[in-house]
Amino acid sequence: MKRATNILVALSILCCSCGQPGRLAPAEYIHYMEQDAAYKKKVDAGNTQYTIQLALPGYMALKDAYGFNRELNADAYSKRIKELDGFVFFLVNIIKAPSGDPLKKMAASQASTEQMVMYYESAARDITLKDGDAELKPVTYHFENNDNLSPYNTIVVAFPDNGGNGKDLQLVFNDRYAGNPFVKASFPKTLITHPPTLLITGK
């Protein structure tokens, strides 16, 4: 009887731990956030691919606190996490299908310039976050232009974290320039309320 109970307890622990990332070191945490399909959604719209990543404050603070030497500055992390707490971030990666020499194309194309201006100045108006019945507008918006040196550009947007109401968060991007309206990605609230635990042991 005692043996059977022990086996049951062991099996329960094993089942409960399945699918949970548990406690992660900083590098593992970043890797997990970037690779896990729950945090990263893709939308294929013909000539443009969008990858929308839900980025929690912990992830954003870690990315900031990592130096070029790949060592984590724990003080910088603590300071940054306090600044970012209460917000939820999304990284919208825009990947265009390759067409010709990107540098030449960039220099020559008036359209590319207009696109950059549009993404820099007005795309924030075209991004909303549906949080239950509420439609939120970004509180901060940043466009990372890679000058066509990499095959993608990234938009970083942040919204206030309204806490848990049980409903999914849905990001809707109306990409006017690329002519791709209704680029949508949904994320369960549990990803924010129950993120993996981060282990910080740096200096």
Binding site: K41, V43, D44, K184, A185
Partner: protein, 165 residues
């Protein structure tokens, strides 16, 4: 005693092997449906993305339509004597027909830009060898209902549209 134990163990091993094999065979038989077909009209009409695009396009069309109605009213009130209003009315009606044709073309293009990769994913995930599009023009003359995956595919594409891949 030992012989009895051996027989029992052998029986268990054979039973487990038979059950495992049966499960594998059954799974292969039900999960892999090599050829299926889809009602394309129903598929595109039920795609939420298309409905959203049409709603957006309708707003603009209503705007032009309102302008046309207003011009018609002005023309009527002025006693049909102002050629300038006629010109404006012609322009507005031309803009309406052009916008209508252009937006229909764009909606079809955008819908298929999104649908093609999703249909490919659906085919791969469901182990399909061939997915035929039935459009009522004779591409599929007969298909058993069990090979019709239209409703499944509609549920799949709408879920992907709302949630992302």
């Amino acid at each position: 005693m030992t012989r009895n134990l051996f027989d029992k163990t052998l029986l268990y091993v054979v039973a487990i092997a038979v059950i495992t094999l049966s499960v594998i065979v059954l799974k292969r038989g039900t999960a892999t449906q090599e050829i299926s077909y889809v009602d394309i009209g129903k598929l595109t009409d039920s795609y939420t993305f298309k409905k959203d695009l049409e709603a957006m396009s309708s707003k603009n069309l209503y705007g032009i339509k309102n302008a046309i109605d207003s011009l018609k009213m002005v023309k009527k009130m002025s006693g049909n004597t102002q050629p300038r209003i006629d010109t404006m009315l012609n322009h507005a009606e031309y803009a309406f027909s052009q916008y209508y044709a252009q937006s229909n073309k764009e909606i079809t293009q955008k819908v298929w830009d999104r649908l093609n990769p999703l249909i490919e994913d659906y085919g791969k995930e469901n182990g399909l060898q061939l997915l035929i599009g039935a459009n009522g023009a004779g591409t599929v003359l007969y298909g058993d209902k069990k090979n019709d995956v239209t409703d499944n595919l509609i549920a799949y594409i709408n879920k992907k549209y709302e949630k992302g891949n």
